[in-house]
């Protein structure tokens, strides 16, 4: 029973215990990392030329989905789900592109700040509607996805607009060591500035509490409604970062949402976050995003039919989650 630590144990044994406990709690993420390492080895095997360019391309291509997955993870941990994240990314993407077109570099900074604010507002609206109407999250956000997608088309009818040079340069190439892509640094910075303080704050605790057991959280004095709105607002912020990443990497705005909504949910599930809420973190989903992208790349290298590759992605997702649940079930019985 892990609940009762023996008080006469020597300190060394306790450290080992704590390590083992940490390993058990993060077993899923560790497993994903091992899987990622194997996958990287396999990629190098089938495509010996895979190297610095490959890693840099990988970093840039996963960035929008990685940001979306972090946002989605926060909402799923709080016990909700947001099916409008793809549409929100499209909307922030076109707003950024249309505003930056033919403007000065300095104005681009203002646009970035404004777009981030817009994301927070969009997310907060989603959350407020969920809390106020008590309609299930999945229904509200599905409906809102049409609203935000429509708004995106109102801003830009066809792909267009532009992006400030500095924001495009922000993701290109590497810094210092050629193996460290700038896009990865950007991702780590965003997470370090937002997620880590949140995780340590009372608000972060409340997000986990509400997702784990609403009634117990309510009875512990947590404002359930406010916490949910906060989680959705944070998702909006990450969606805006995702939209900006799209603007930066493509240089234009595309009003039609990409596949990010369902892929973000897939990454969250694959990343070990319980859809029932309250469990998981963001490292798992981030690793899952890289795995999903790498599988796609490998299938291209292996000259699979692209359609078949999509099918395979789905099968792998179900298979991995199923095996994971079985392992967890067995451990609980033991």
């Amino acid at each position: 029973m892990s609940a009762v630590a023996d008080s006469i144990d020597p300190a060394a044994a306790r450290t080992t215990d704590a390590l083992a406990g940490w390993g058990r709690r993060n077993a899923w993420t560790l497993g994903l990392l091992v899987f990622l390492a194997i996958l990287l080895g396999f990629t190098k095997l089938i495509q010996p030329s895979y190297g610095v360019t490959g890693v840099q391309g990988l970093a840039i291509s996963v960035l929008p989905l990685a940001l979306a997955a972090v946002g989605q993870a926060i909402v799923v941990i709080s016990g909700g789900i947001d099916l409008s994240i793809g549409a929100m990314m499209a909307l922030t993407n076109v707003v950024a592109a249309s505003q930056m077109q033919n403007q000065s570099e300095e104005f681009g900074v203002a646009v970035v700040v404004g777009v981030l604010l817009l994301g927070v507002i969009l997310g907060a609206i989603n959350g407020a509607v969920v809390v106020a109407t008590r309609v299930p999250d999945i229904v509200v956000t599905l409906a809102m996805s049409f609203v935000w997608a429509g708004c995106a088309l109102l801003v830009l009818k066809t792909p267009g607009g532009g992006a400030a040079t500095w924001i495009q340069e922000l993701l290109k190439g590497s810094i210092g060591n050629e193996w460290i892509p700038k896009a990865a640094i950007v991702l780590i910075l965003i997470i370090a500035l937002i997620w880590i303080p949140l995780r340590r704050s009372q608000a972060g605790l409340q997000i986990y509490a509400v997702g784990s057991d609403r009634l117990a959280a309510f009875r512990s004095g947590v404002s359930v409604g406010r916490t949910k709105i906060l989680a959705y607002a944070l998702l909006g912020l990450f969606a805006a970062f995702g939209g900006l990443a799209l603007t930066a990497s493509t240089g234009v705005g595309t009003p039609v949402p990409g596949p990010y909504t369902l892929l973000s949910v897939a990454a969250v599930v694959l990343g070990g976050v319980s859809l029932a809420g309250g469990r998981g973190g963001i490292i798992g989903p981030l690793v899952a995003v890289i795995i999903l992208q790498l599988i796609r790349t490998d299938m291209t290298f292996l000259r699979f039919d692209p359609n078949l590759a999509v099918v395979a992605q789905g099968v792998i997702l179900i298979g991995v989650v199923m095996v994971g649940s079985l392992v967890q079930l067995r451990r609980r019985r033991a």
Binding site: A5, G21, Y208, S212, F218, R219, G221, G278
Partner: protein, 525 residues
Amino acid sequence: MTVAATDLLLEASDISKTYGAVVALRSASLSVRPGEVHALMGANGAGKSTLVKILTGAVRPDTGTISVRGRERSVHSPAEARRGGLVSVYQEPALIPDLDIRSNLRLTDTPLEPFRHWLAELGLRRLDLSSVARDIPLASLRIIDLARALAIEPDVLMLDEMTAALPADLTERVLDVVGRSRGGDRSVLFISHRMIEIAAVCDRATVLREGVTVGVVDVTSGSEDRIVELMLGQVVAGLVKTGSGLAAAGMRPADVTPRISARAISSETVLQDATFDLYPGEVLGVVALEGQGQDELFDILAGSARPTGGELSVNGSPTAFRHPADAIRAGVVYVAADRAEALLMQRSVRENIALPGVASLRRWGLIDLGAERRMVGASVTRLQIDARAGAEVRRLSGGNQQKVTIARWVAGGVRTLLCFDPTRGIDIGTKNQIYVLLRELADAGTAILLYTSELKEIPLVCDRAIVIFGGRVVDEIDAATADEPTLLRAAYHLRSDAAMPEEIAAESATTVAQPESSIPMDSDG
């Protein structure tokens, strides 16, 4: 001694609350003095749980005021209640299952040192604060929840059925800590069904009936009757003895075939040898401490588990149930302690009663709604079910829910009824009604097997009782003449002249066999 209003620690006055057409509280008031342990009592449906929800901030009252230390407080959420000095501990611990204990403490801004102090007071010394709440046994979680509440030193601590289904040794510690808190500056509001606990720790009791505060009683020896009287609105002398002794062993004709005949029924190692006969027209009690195999026995008889050995005959012919449907077809039906197990909580009283009978009411594949209504109406009247909130069973009180589970079988004409602790958590008035009903059913020829965790109820309703100990039926006693000490000795499988071990005698103060106390304990108390 008179106390001026400003000296009161907590005062709630003229609280009312209506849910649609149902008046839950008409005009309830409550005054708690500093330093006292105050009981809040009321039969099921008296509005007690609504008043508790209002005081904890889970529900907003329609009218009325709540003051703490003379200052009026708005208590519109548990967070506001906490700020106002009202902290509650519930039967279900309010700990977040996916967070470790340290985070749970941080969530409620609980200081660590006082928490450890109270934890030790409550006898839970070895607790790893980094263990996740989900991995901790339920009984310990409830102690942790209580220690957490005590640590922030609230003006009023509300204990809402906190001791229900808590193992006896922990209950004792909780009562001890609550009792010692008397006379200080802070108060405890104590909500419990158990008179014995009220008598042990409470100074005064406020009694609710039909949404109105009907009296405040000083708790002394003998005030129990007064409280019950107030709760029921009429003079009652405890539970009415209903056992008629009609089918007492000596009077049974020799040629009657038993309804159920069990021979050496076993289930793995838990149940080893259950041998007994259940005759039509009798209530056969099952006397057993917790975990002696009675759970498995009832599961086997109800068809939801298969025995690993032994023979079972129904009406004289050997039978093996594969599924509860087989048992129901053979006329053997099951009433569980946990109502949620048996009812469709979100459907109506009518649908719940009619569900098992639907098969016999079909006409060309459609349900004959007229016949259904007649059948349901008859059983609602017969069981005196309060069906005002009948559109959804989950809104009924616990006692009324249990009546619905019995009514569904009565409606179809029942031959053999298996009752597993049917009155758990039900108020005394409804208990009485359920036992009168069981007696009536038995007198009309139904065979009833009854397990109850409250030993003193055995002589009230049963004709005979079998004793299960260590998975075997070890004894049979004539229930009508057995008193509580006799039954307790039997339950512990002691000879009636043997001295009872001290700790057992102490435990008899509460109930003997609380099924939930099978939770593994990790306190060192």
